[in-house]
């Protein structure tokens, strides 16, 4: 079954120089392991291909059922140098939530996951 992140997680993003961070939080604690398993550094790097120019770093915060991603080279130079509407990376959060993942049907039923709209 295809699942879109926006239906199983919420997120907030911010900036540090030319780097955007996206914190992704599972909407239910039992969905957090799925985020850990599916949202690999490589997967997120591929998702943002053509949007960011640098690497992606990933950190786990199991205490908050959250992952934190650093997206380097995301903000056209960052801060006041950037010409982007989103110069401070405020909406990279929902850009990540556009991602869809494939989950085995049995797992999707067991976890009561909503299907992608």
């Amino acid at each position: 079954m295809r699942v879109q992140l926006v239906d199983i997680a919420h997120a907030r993003s911010g900036d540090k120089g030319d780097t955007a961070n996206v914190g992704v939080i599972a909407l239910r604690p039992e969905w957090y392991p799925l985020l850990v398993q599916q949202l690999t550094r490589e997967r997120v790097q591929a998702h943002f291909q053509g949007v960011i120019t640098g690497d992606v770093q990933r950190y786990e915060l199991p205490n908050l059922n959250a992952l934190n991603f650093l997206l380097h080279g995301a903000l056209d130079g960052g801060g006041t140098l950037s010409l982007k509407t989103d110069a401070q990376g405020k909406v990279f959060s929902t850009a990540l939530l556009r991602m869809t993942i494939d989950v085995q049907d049995a797992d999707a039923r067991r976890l009561d996951l909503p299907a992608a709209r």
Binding site: H10, A11, R12, S13, G14, D15, K16, G17, D18, N21, G23, I25, L27, H47, F48, G50, V51, Y59, E60, L61, P62, N63, L64, N65, A66, N68, L70, D76, G77, G78, G79, T80, L81, L83, K84, T85, D86, V91, S93, T94, A95, R98
Partner: protein, 455 residues
């Protein structure tokens, strides 16, 4: 204060430009002991430095004067104490302006103002270079000397110690320059409970309390994605309050009857805001580990925070340098149905061709189509939906002010001599802006000398 007693710290400003009513609402809405106001973003210091160059009595957050005025009865009659980094690059002038406001209230004449300085490294740059402190850029490694003649401001981020000192010396209002945002919350906790300077876990808790409330209502329902439709009454959003305890645990809440929400979800989102490596949130006081934070909803709009671990800080302070870095301008036009996007794209090609013919070169030209792809770019799915209108948004950046100025004259002509169905030019010619860029650096703690004065 006995160890079981609670100290209430209210956040009333998340940046310079935040709600003017928040300070008064925080002191009138229920019991608070301290109000903290965070005015300084990364480039705010440079704006203030420019103001000080024009007028030596300026260079601080002017909004703070009105904030004090609106809180005056609480400060003078109820003993509410206020901590703010409103001093910017001129804490002394800020204190003088506040003193004038206090003179208007008969009971406020005894109010003591603590002024924290020592963060300003601008007058000491050459001395620091000569002593081998390169203030190298934290990302590129370049020494600051490469842009020395363009530097506008240079400030070290001070920790909570000088604020704690000012509170111990009886200051009712503490004004700082570039303190860490988190220090403004940490200081009253340290002062109240006399936490030792090496009590790493409690200090880390103070930092995290500060991180949660330093952006004002962004932890109490503002900008909250979780079930956003259900968040009640944002028109009257309650700004956050930390109820601290001696053991380092604390509750985040807001005044009764206010709008917004304080939940595990709203706090979790704020904890992750501008987060780097969560294991190492580095401050001058302590390194806090965000992976140890435990959150519990203990009641409606009450989140208990506990379990926090910290470890000793580094020997460096972060320095925020602002320097002039060329000019920029952004021009916009709106194209209407039919074929709105195609018309906007065509206008962009024409504009770029004209800029080429004029021989203008830019360090950067960026085109965005607002309504189509400006926020999520290529991640936006091709939906088959035809936008009723599209805003063409073109930005340029250059070392040459003349080139940027010429660009601003090339937008309006497109209304009459470019693709059809165009509107939205009521705002006039785009404004040329000088870019003040941000240079993050580190400096040895030992060379920065914080100073506290009670006036």
């Amino acid at each position: 204060m006995s160890p079981s007693q609670v100290v209430r710290i209210a956040a009333a400003q998340g940046f310079w430009g935040d709600s003017l009513d928040a300070p008064r609402r925080q002191v009138d809405g229920g019991p608070v002991d301290y109000v903290m106001l965070d005015y300084l973003a990364e480039v705010t210091m440079s704006i203030l430095q420019k103001q000080k160059e024009r007028d030596p009595n300026m260079g601080y957050a002017r909004d703070f004067v009105g904030a004090i005025e609106s809180m005056l009865p609480a400060i003078a009659e109820r003993g509410v104490r206020v901590i703010a980094n409103a001093g910017g690059v001129n804490p002394g002038a800020c204190a003088a302006a506040i003193r004038q406001v206090l003179a208007k209230h008969s009971k406020a004449t005894t109010v003591r103002i603590g002024v924290v300085t020592g963060d300003d490294l601008l007058p000491r740059l050459d001395e620091l270079f000569a002593a081998g402190h390169a203030l190298a850029h934290m990302e590129t490694g370049e020494p600051l000397s490469t842009v020395r003649d363009r530097v506008l401001s240079a400030n070290a981020y001070l920790g909570s110690t000088p604020i704690v000192d000012a509170l111990a010396r009886g200051a009712n209002i503490v004004i700082t320059g570039r303190s860490t945002d988190t220090a403004l919350t940490m200081a009253p906790l340290r002062h109240t409970y006399a936490w030792k300077a090496d009590d790493w876990d409690r200090l880390a808790a103070g930092i995290i309390a500060g991180h949660i409330i330093e952006c004002g209502a962004q932890c109490s329902g503002g900008n909250c994605l979780y079930d956003w439709r259900s968040i009640p009454n944002l028109a009257d959003v309650g700004y956050p309050i930390v109820e601290g305890q001696a053991d380092g645990t604390f509750v985040v809440t807001k005044h009764e009857g206010t709008g917004g929400v304080v939940s595990v979800h709203s706090i979790s989102e704020q904890l992750l805001y501008e987060m780097g490596d969560p294991h190492s949130y580095i401050t001058p006081d302590v390194i806090a580990d965000f992976t140890t934070i435990q959150l519990e909803q203990e009641g409606p709009n009450r989140v208990r925070v506990h379990g926090i671990k910290g470890r000793p800080p580094t020997d460096s302070l972060k320095v925020s340098v602002a320097y002039r870095s060329g000019f920029k301008a952004v021009g916009t036009l709106v194209y209407a149905w039919p074929d709105a996007l195609e018309k906007a794209q065509h206008a962009d090609r024409i504009l770029r061709e004209r800029l080429d013919r004029l021989g203008l070169t830019f360090d950067r030209i960026l085109t965005e189509f607002v309504g189509v792809s400006s926020t999520h770019g290529p991640l936006t799915p091709a939906s088959g939906y035809e936008a009723p209108e599209v805003q063409l948004r073109v930005g340029v950046r250059s070392e040459s002010k003349a080139a940027v100025e010429r660009f601003t004259r090339e937008i309006a002509p497109l209304v009459l001599n470019g693709p059809p169905s165009v509107t939205g030019f009521a705002g006039g010619r785009p404004k040329v802006e000088e870019i003040v860029a941000y240079w993050p650096a580190l400096v040895d703690k030992a060379v920065v000398r914080p100073h506290v004065e009670i006036v």
